[in-house]
Amino acid sequence: MSQPSDASPAPTQAPVAAGGRPGNPMSGARALLFASARWEVLLVAILAVLIWAGMRISPFFIQPDFWNSANFGASISGTMEVAIMALAMTPIIITGDIDLSVESMVGLSGAVLGVLWAAGIPLQVGIPIVLVVGMVGGLFNGLLVTRWGLPALVVTLGTLALYRGLANAVLGTSYVTNFPSAFTAFGFGYVPGTQVPWTLLAFLLLAVVFAVVLHLTWIGRQVFAIGKNKDAARYSGVRVAGLRTALFAVSGIVAAFAGIVLALRYNSVRSDNGTGLVLTVVMIAVLGGVDINGGKGTIPGVVLAVFTLAALQSALRLGGVSSEYQNVAIGLLLIVSVIAPHLARQFRVLVDRVRSGRHRPVRDPVPGEVVR
């Protein structure tokens, strides 16, 4: 684990404060300590270190030139499909489910879009149809999981093969290309007058929507309630089955949208579009601090994870590290990202224990004592 720079002041301040009066001055340091132990803060630190390292390797790193493939910006626009899918994967993982079929939905939606376009149907009509296909696919997943009580891992493992098979059946081994330039501009163009790719803008807008719904509304509270304890949620009046099904439907729609983005960015669809992406999607979610066992996770964390991954990829590429080694680095980062919060929590417990041991040896408060 790389030691983040902004986490170090907290531990050094804490003993000083603890040496003084136990009271208000300490709570500030304590709050800082708690804040710095948050995974999102660590991610910001890792991201800062990566960008700094990237700038050291080449000043080129941060320049807003999206056409150079070793550039941070290019890495970002190259990861937007997985980033978009990771947003919808987040609430699903928080409820304790998983959706492995998204990468096949990318292929299926691209295939349907291509066939419709080849048949002369304009994209204005084709795109809504494809989104509906995504929703139906997601609903199918959700209903199998909630109605029949099948594990999401198994269901979506099946539909991972099934939807890829549908994509093959729809498009065969052929490919469709030459989408109208007005649409492909969305895939690899910029917002006029800026250096912001359209896909990045779409991702950020979606991220805001997901963040607001997940963190500021009753729907989000219910998602977390389900993830913490399904039975308790049901007894509190949460429509557990309905909400889980809806989340799968949303995931299907979002995956179909990601498929459209990919098709327009490549300006070509094949039935194997998106193969192997699901592992990266899950990786981004986990790297963003979403607990794979459910109940915990934030959208800002996932957004940070997207940028961290892009920064890591382009820094490694700039440093001349071949893509094979890059996979090793990303795999290590994934595992470390899970071990690190675990260690951070243990460290926090340790700090608490040491400090409470200094001026209050009693572990359990005696009856009547005011617990701070």
Binding site: L162, R164, N168, N293, V338
Partner: protein, 341 residues
């Protein structure tokens, strides 16, 4: 069963219970389905049963089945191992490289391969059991890391048939009384694993940890050690599968066996091992792997269009899994009803 229990009105429900019981035994059902499927395909496409066709198909199924036994051990403990395909790939390549450099005699090279698989499995075991990383995340990471290792070992090269000793791949096509050598090996491994799981204390530990880790810990089961053991064995068996993979193909690339993890897990799940842990058998897992291999071959022989193969494959997995769940649901309801009576 005592005869005097049978009352006329119970006759039907007893027959139903018998059918239900048989249907609940996933191994018997699968074996039955495999026999029926083979019979139907054999009628429609007579060359299905020929050694030329069935030999390669069952040989490949045997490789997947061996990896599926290891995967089943892990899934029994309520974990999952996504990294098997990378282990198979890196072991196959490493063994090929050792033989290409003529560094070691063939049997020693094989032993090295199995040992490497065991070591990689132990890495998984440490990450999951000691560092407490959820297995799906841990093995997602090692899936990338082990594959990266494979590319590093390969260093842009590949292993050809010319690099290997003369007649190295003959073992794959060798058969006794029409049954390929690899199938015997798979049966032996499945047999040992089945006996250990069924009749030894260590074997029962896998079920205990998978069905209720807390209860297992309460009665003194060292669950983390058991999980570690499951991952180590899974890695070792993936190592065996990797050695066989190299013998079977002769040409080995850095991305060999990519995508096979899902085939292995699908076999295990179709074989009736519950992803929720604690229930299922390795015999079922191996039969599941065989079944999926046969389905693929049957579809090709019956002239199913290439584009539809994957679709039917996916539908079969879903169907197998959902029938299992539906039967369980019905049994539970029936039990609940009889309890009320």
């Amino acid at each position: 069963m005592a005869g005097n229990v049978a009352v006329a009105s119970n006759e039907r429900s007893r027959a139903g219970a018998l059918i239900g019981g048989l249907a609940r035994s996933r191994e018997l059902t699968l074996a039955g389905v495999i026999v029926v499927l083979s019979a139907i395909v054999a009628v429609r496409a007579p060359n299905f049963l020929s050694t030329d066709n069935l030999g390669p198909v069952t040989t490949f199924a045997a490789i997947i089945a061996i990896a599926a036994v290891g995967e089943a051990l892990v899934i029994l403990t309520k974990n999952i191992d996504l990294s098997v395909e990378s282990t198979i790939g890196v072991v196959a390549f490493t063994v090929g490289l050792i033989l290409k450099e003529q560094a070691l005699p063939v049997p020693v090279a094989w032993a090295c391969g199995v040992g490497l698989g065991l070591a990689l499995g132990m890495c998984n075991g440490v990450i999951v059991a000691v560092l407490r990383v959820p297995s799906i995340v841990a093995t997602l990471g090692t899936l990338s890391i082990f594959r990266g290792l494979c590319f590093v070992v390969a260093n842009g090269h590949e292993i050809n048939l010319n690099d290997l000793p003369d007649g190295y791949t003959n073992a794959a096509s060798q058969d006794f009384f029409g049954v390929p050598l690899f199938v015997f090996l798979a049966i032996a491994i499945v047999g040992v694993a089945a006996i250990v799981l069924r009749y030894t204390v260590v074997g029962r530990l896998f079920y205990a940890v998978g069905s209720n880790a807390e209860a297992a810990a309460t009665i003194g089961v060292r669950s983390r050690l058991t999980v570690f053991l499951a991952f180590a064995l899974s890695g070792m068996l993936a190592g065996v599968a990797g050695v066989l993979w190299g013998i079977n193909y002769g040409a080995i690339y850095a991305n060999s066996a990519s995508g096979q993890s899902l085939a292995v897990i699908a076999g295990v799940v179709v074989g009736g091992v519950s992803i929720a842990g604690g229930s299922g058998t390795v015999v079922g897992a191996a039969l599941g792997a065989l079944f999926l291999g046969l389905i693929n071959n049957a579809l090709i022989l019956l002239g199913a269009p290439q584009e539809w193969l994957q679709l039917i494959y996916g539908a079969v997995i879903l169907f197998a899994v959902s029938t299992d769940a539906l039967i369980q649901l019905r049994t539970q309801r029936a039990r609940a009803r009889s309890r009320i009576r």
